[in-house]
């Protein structure tokens, strides 16, 4: 196939994501300024960053799962459940915080384990496995919780309300998780194996990798990060809520952020950095539209269009193209070489 070596061709997809983010930033600054607001004021920055935290946690986990060749649609329900367990166990008592956090993340991990086992051992496509597990949790939530539940104590609520300058603590924790995830991906064996399994299971297997391990690990971490998101929400809301996860639409939005960040939906290629870029784009977009008081229905239109358009920028590009030997259009200098006829050997 022919390829053009344009500007975009030379950039990695992560670079393009940040380029798109930059464009969004500039556009946002202009638009927001035009109505007499500041895009870069501490309040606004804090608002944008707050917007990145919850989705950030989930999208990091989703990145791992997608890299491993799976998908996690159960995250919203895990997040809701986590918020309920956290607030329920804490019951407004600061002494319970540690046990609540552990129990919450432990439960999330168990759900992730279930997801991972269904995908890896029962050979169920991640889409269906996690849709199913999500539905199972959803039924449990709907049956047992009708409205918010529990109460998180002041000390714990501070996590969601404190910041260093305009940077919320929650964002810092999220970025720390991102750092850990990067460390995992790039500096541990299981991280390398995760890329391998997502890239080609057969290759991974014959290279001596136990292919279940990375898939299950990714699912467990993803659920735990969804649990983290639940904890953060419990801290911000002060209570647990059975619907807080689905309210955010975090399943599809996180997948969109991951793909926007340049990760291949089919797995094996992508970065956490890119995903953070994707999350940032969404957060800025939401912020700009809210400041501009865009009709809430139109917000979704913009989101939808941006998701597709941004991915389209690099989707068509072959990631690594073979260098062309000849200018495709043919220059005057390239004289047609005459094949020679040789007599015998």
């Amino acid at each position: 196939m022919k390829q053009r070596t344009g500007f975009f061709q030379q950039l990695s997809s992560t670079q393009i994501v940040y380029l798109v983010a930059l464009v969004t930033l500039i556009l946002g600054a202009l638009l927001v300024n035009s109505i007499g607001r500041s895009f870069f004021s501490p309040g606004n920055i804090s608002s944008i960053l707050t917007g990145t935290s919850v989705l950030g946690f989930i999208a990091i986990g989703q990145t791992l799962v997608i890299l491993a060749g799976s998908l996690d649609l159960s995250v919203p329900y895990v997040t809701s459940l986590a918020s309920l367990i956290a607030a329920g166990v804490m019951a407004n008592n600061p002494n319970n915080v540690l046990s609540a956090v552990l129990l919450t993340l432990g439960t999330a991990a168990v759900i992730g384990l279930a997801n991972g086992l269904i995908v890896a051992r029962l050979n169920v496509h991640g889409f269906i496995a996690t849709l199913g597990v999500g539905l199972i949790i959803s039924g449990y939530l709907a049956t047992n919780f009708k409205g918010s539940f529990g109460q998180t104590p002041l000390a714990f609520r501070l996590v969601g309300a404190t910041g260093i300058g305009p940077v919320p603590i929650s964002t810092i924790i999220m970025l720390a998780c991102a750092g850990l995830a990067m460390l995992l991906l790039h500096r541990t064996r299981v991280g390398h194996h995760l890329y391998a399994v997502g890239g080609d299971v057969a290759v991974a297997r014959t290279s001596g990798i136990r292919v279940d391990v990375p898939v299950i690990t990714a699912h467990v971490i993803c659920s735990v990060l969804a649990g983290m998101a639940g904890l953060l929400l419990a801290s911000r809301l002060g209570v647990g809520s059975p619907t807080v996860g689905s309210q955010g639409g975090y399943d599809l939005l996180s997948i969109a952020a991951v793909v926007l960040g340049g990760t291949l939906l089919s797995g094996g290629k992508g970065t956490i950095t890119g995903t953070l870029g994707g999350v940032l784009i969404f957060a800025m977009l939401d912020n700009i539209m809210s400041v501009m008081q865009v009709n809430p229905f139109l917000k979704d239109v913009v989101r939808g269009v941006v998701i597709v358009a941004a991915v389209a920028i690099y989707a068509r590009r072959r990631i690594v193209t073979r260098p062309e030997r000849f200018p495709a259009k043919g220059s005057a200098e390239t004289r047609a070489a005459q094949p020679v006829t040789v007599e015998g050997p």
Partner: protein
């Protein structure tokens, strides 16, 4: 670096004006006897003010002194809205905007900045925090997405020292300048369940169609109705439908297949028509029914002549917050808890309400209370949403 903690993130005071039951687990009932009794009495209470302007009426009670807010000139209002994701909210939102224009015209309000949280607690918390930090707001109007989760954000708004008006769903704090709402869900439940029970026999089956779980004003409706049905020996089976008529129709069809359904109770009238059509299609006798003052239901009620009533969760409450702010900026005292009238539409008034709302779309609410505003009726007919 400097640590910035929101000074207002504090131990919550506990009981608020919203609902005491809101943060309790599901196993604990939404039922609250005190609130039930209060609202039951309020059903027959007398309302202060001009009945021609129900959106300004209230039940006499404690008043908030607003003299400290008294200030001349036009003010900027910041409105944190839960969402406009259902027809009831959309109708109210349209009315509110027309009211806004009126108050802008009279120089009370300079502008209203609105953030819509799209049914998301976390977003609405962020919206309120954004207003506090960046909004340069002279007053806050908050329509909370959920009761417990928004409590602290509302408290933070209160701590700015600016007037805070909460309406529709409540929060668990008294800090707001006023909390505006119609009588409430228990009253709705009492009106409707009593109506149905009176027409039916003990042992009859009623299907209860509920939109969604977890919203106080809706849960209270069912909590009251359930209690009454139980007392009267009516068999009520409840379902969540998301107001999806397809779902509603299937539920009714299956229920009809397992036995006669004598009554249909709804916690919100959206989708009522589908429920009736299920009876028609199955060739069954139409039930005794309660819907809501949504045009689609009123029209169908009229067409079929069923035995019905339309409870009302007064949509005109969307005007009141801005009118309350007008009073606040004038320093006039206003009710601390502003209980608006909530009068169901009964069979004898049906024609009158249909008449008054001729030409309105099916998702319009008869008691929207905006007939005196500019733009009436086109704006509502065309559902122009800003």
């Amino acid at each position: 670096a400097c640590t910035t903690t929101d000074p207002s993130v504090t131990q919550t005071s506990g009981t608020g004006t919203g609902s005491a039951a809101a943060s309790s687990p599901a196993s604990k009932d939404w039922f609250d006897q005190t609130l039930y009794d209060t609202q039951n009495q309020q059903r027959s209470a007398t309302f202060e003010g001009n009945p021609e302007q129900p959106y300004l009426q209230y039940i006499a009670g404690p008043m908030t002194d607003t003299s400290k807010f008294k200030a001349p000139g036009a003010h900027k209002v910041c409105f944190a809205n839960a969402s406009i994701s259902n027809p009831w909210r959309q109708t109210g939102w349209i009315t509110m905007n027309q009211q806004l224009k009126a108050l802008q015209g009279t120089g009370v309000i300079s502008e209203m900045e609105t953030r819509d949280a799209k049914d998301n607690d976390n977003t609405q918390i962020a919206d309120i925090d954004y207003f506090i930090a960046e909004g340069k707001c002279d007053a806050f109007v908050i329509s909370p997405n959920s009761t417990a989760a928004l409590t602290q954000a509302v408290e933070r708004a209160c701590q700015t020292g600016k007037p805070v008006v909460v309406f529709d769903r409540g929060v668990q704090t008294d800090c707001a300048t006023t909390f505006i709402h119609p009588i409430g869900g228990f009253a709705w439940g009492i009106d409707t369940a009593t109506f149905i029970s009176d027409k039916l026999q003990s042992g009859d089956k009623v299907v209860a169609l509920r939109i969604l779980p977890g919203v106080d004003v809706l849960e209270h409706r069912w909590a009251a109705a359930k209690k009454i049905f139980e007392e009267k020996g009516i068999q009520a089976k409840d379902y969540f439908t998301n107001a999806d008529p397809t779902e509603i129709k299937k539920i009714i069809s299956d229920e009809l297949a397992t036995g006669d359904v004598k009554g249909v109770w709804m916690d919100a009238g959206d989708g009522a028509v589908a429920a009736l059509e299920a009876f028609e299609d199955a060739g069954k006798k139409l039930p005794v029914m309660t819907g809501e003052d949504e045009m689609s239901f009123l029209t169908k009620w009229k067409q079929t002549g069923i035995d019905a009533m339309a409870p009302v969760y007064s949509n005109f409450q969307w005007r009141t917050p801005l009118l309350a702010l007008e009073k606040i900026f004038k320093g006039e005292p206003i009710p601390t808890e502003w209980v608006l009238p909530q009068k169901p539409i009964l069979a004898d008034e049906l024609d009158q309400w249909l008449q008054r709302n001729q030409g309105m779309p099916s998702g319009h609410y008869a008691k929207f209370g905006g007939e005196d505003l500019a733009g009436y009726p086109e704006v509502w007919q065309q559902r122009q949403i800003p």
